[in-house]
Amino acid sequence: MEDNLIVDLYWARSENAIAETAAKYGRYCYSIAYNILTNVEDANEAVNDTWLGAWNSIPPHRPSVLSTFLGKITRRVSINKWGERNAKKRGAGEIALALDELVDCVPSSQNVERTIELKELTRAINAFLAQLSETERDIFVCRYWFMSSIKEISANFKISESNAKTSLFRTRKKLYSYLQKEGY
């Protein structure tokens, strides 16, 4: 079923909306959740929470890209679950590695107490990503949005793991400089 028809089902509060979403995007959302949670049960739970999140947010939203709308919900839900689970010391997964890597990008600004508006920061990151080459950007997003492992990135981009790491390292350094310049 086409995405606009699925969104129409949500707006009509038709229960078929969830069935159609699960049929079309079940595996997609599961992949995102599993990359973060590395646990089948938790990933399934995150996917179910995604359907609930979509049900509660459409309407009033009418997402233009349904896959990323759902993916963003899955990512948020999974990260929250990861946070809860991490508090109980149940494994780490790619997210812990990704978080460690992102420390490289955080400028040791004097304004450490400054409140960061997530929306503003996202806008800055979008502007930064716009400056990258498509491949650099895709690799960065695969790693830090989809939480793909270095091995997966290497396979999907047909580059060595070493090259994948180098690309990410350079992008993180660029992001560091960019954010520092922007006053973060």
Binding site: R27, Y28, V65, E152
Partner: protein, 465 residues
């Protein structure tokens, strides 16, 4: 800022970057799909023909400047009614007023519906559908529900050795047929669905869904609604270049199609123009020599093409297929989301868009020509405002949501008619006493708000201009 804040912010990045990376990740590719991958020789053949097409097109390439004197003279008349709608509560249907007139510009009808026997929805075709024991469809005229007559055709055909059997129901809404499948044969790992072809009076498209879950891909067929005959419009075209087809749009006369899919050399879903009768297939990005992000039919032979660039800007072209004429209509216009407070082009998903200037002035833009209207006098876009185009792409309804209210909390409603250059808006009161959960087009000049709570009601707004 710490790494967790940064991590959260990365989660909200622009959809385009996610979609681009997603296409590299192989999330949607399984073994079955790889087996179906086309050999590269097909793709080479495609590009040889495209190279010739691009050379021809360069000669006819023109840029229309964004500002045009003729369209500047188009002044949109804003009718902001001084009368405010007193939104009635819907707890007791007996006390629901049948109608109200809002300054002769809008007629409001309040209809109590019985939701115990099924669900009511306003569907994609702009009619009311009652999902009860039997599916029934209704138009609304002067506040009365008019059941629409439905025709049914039986389908029995074979595709690649798979039997497809079922029934398709269809009805006319504003003289436009809308169709849906009533009985599907499920099995053979083939599911199918039927949906209208915008502007076509006698045909609908049937999508065969192949594969499983997210790795599904589609194969499009055409149904003749009067006979139930199913035909393969792509019998002459070589669709085997696609490793996966995600969507197909047909022009109203079904003479052309836009096929969205991935190929062995382009893992991202991109549009290709197909002339089914000639069997030709052209990558839109090669015609324009740019990475295309959107394309759709303006009419039976012209495609509107958009390229969103990394710097949050967009360019538009029209491409007239029979004459191979490419015309650039907008060049690198900022398209930051105006709802989030930034200026730029506000795309509505059709031939028209809005533009919000740095000073907050709003004007209409005809994307097919690149013409800008004069700014709407006395109107500024509110933060929680949404526009929603009709299926013909000629009008947009407008509503403002009050974020402090549960549900949609609609504090204002409007109708923007791009063809008559009129914009009617009215404000509402007492909307916070009801729970509004959906809004949609009903026909071509009515909007329907579904209201829940103790009772179920439909609040319908008919615009007279």
């Amino acid at each position: 800022m710490d790494n967790r804040t940064l991590f959260k912010s990365i989660g909200e990045i622009d959809d385009r970057y996610i979609v681009s990376a997603q296409s590299r990740l192989d999330l949607s590719c399984n073994d079955a799909e790889r087996k179906n991958s086309a050999p590269r020789r097909h793709f080479r053949k495609l590009f040889v023909s495209l190279a010739a097409a691009v050379i021809m097109l360069l000669a006819s390439f023109t840029v229309v400047m964004a500002a045009n004197e003729d369209f500047r003279e188009t002044v949109f008349a804003l009718f902001h009614t001084p009368i405010t709608e007193e939104v009635p509560g819907n707890d007791d249907p007996e006390y629901l007023p049948p109608s109200a007139e809002i300054d002769e510009l809008v007629n409001a009808y309040y209809i109590s519906v019985d939701d115990a026997t099924g669900i009511w929805e306003v569907n994609h075709s702009g009619v009311l559908v009652h999902h009860g024991e039997n599916k029934k469809v209704y138009a609304v005229e002067k506040g009365k529900l008019i059941e629409l007559e439905m025709d049914t055709v039986s389908i029995s055909t074979e595709w690649n050795g798979k039997q497809i059997v079922g029934k398709v129901a269809w009805y006319l809404s504003d003289n436009v047929p809308a169709a849906f499948a009533t009985e599907h044969q499920l099995g053979n790992n083939v599911q199918w669905d039927v949906s209208p072809i915008d502007g076509s009076l006698d045909k609908a498209k049937m999508f065969l869904y192949l594969g499983e879950e997210y790795v599904r891909h589609v194969y499009p067929l055409i149904i003749d609604l009067s006979t139930g005959t199913v035909s393969d419009p792509f019998s002459k075209a070589d669709l085997s270049i696609f490793t996966r087809i995600e969507n197909v749009q047909f022009s109203a006369n079904t003479a052309y199609a836009l096929v969205w899919g991935t190929t062995a050399d382009e893992p991202r879903v991109r549009p290709y123009i197909c002339d089914p009768a000639m069997g030709t297939l052209s990558a839109v990005r090669e015609l324009v020599n740019a990475d295309i992000t959107n394309a759709y039919f303006l009419n039976s032979s012209t495609v509107l093409i958009a390229q969103h660039t990394d710097a949050a800007a967009v360019s538009y072209w029209t491409y007239h297929i029979p004459s191979d004429t490419l015309t650039k209509t907008l060049d690198h216009i900022s398209c930051e989301n105006p709802i989030s407070g930034t200026h730029g082009l506000y795309e509505l998903g059709g031939r028209y868009a809005l533009h919000i200037s740095d000073q907050g002035d709003v004007c209409a833009v005809e994307l097919a020509t690149g013409y800008f209207s004069a700014p709407f006098e006395g109107f500024s876009l509110e933060e929680n405002a949404t526009f929603f185009m009709n299926s013909e792409g000629t009008k947009a309804f407008y509503y403002v949501s009050d974020p402090a209210v549960e549900g949609l909390g609609i504090s204002g409603i409007g109708m923007l008619n791009f063809e008559t250059a009129e914009f009617t808006v009215f404000d509402r009161e007492n909307y916070n006493d009801i729970y509004e959960w959906s809004i949609g087009w009903l026909g071509n000049n009515q909007m329907c708000v579904s209201v829940g709570g103790n009772g179920s009601s439909l609040y319908i707004y008919e615009f007279t201009r």
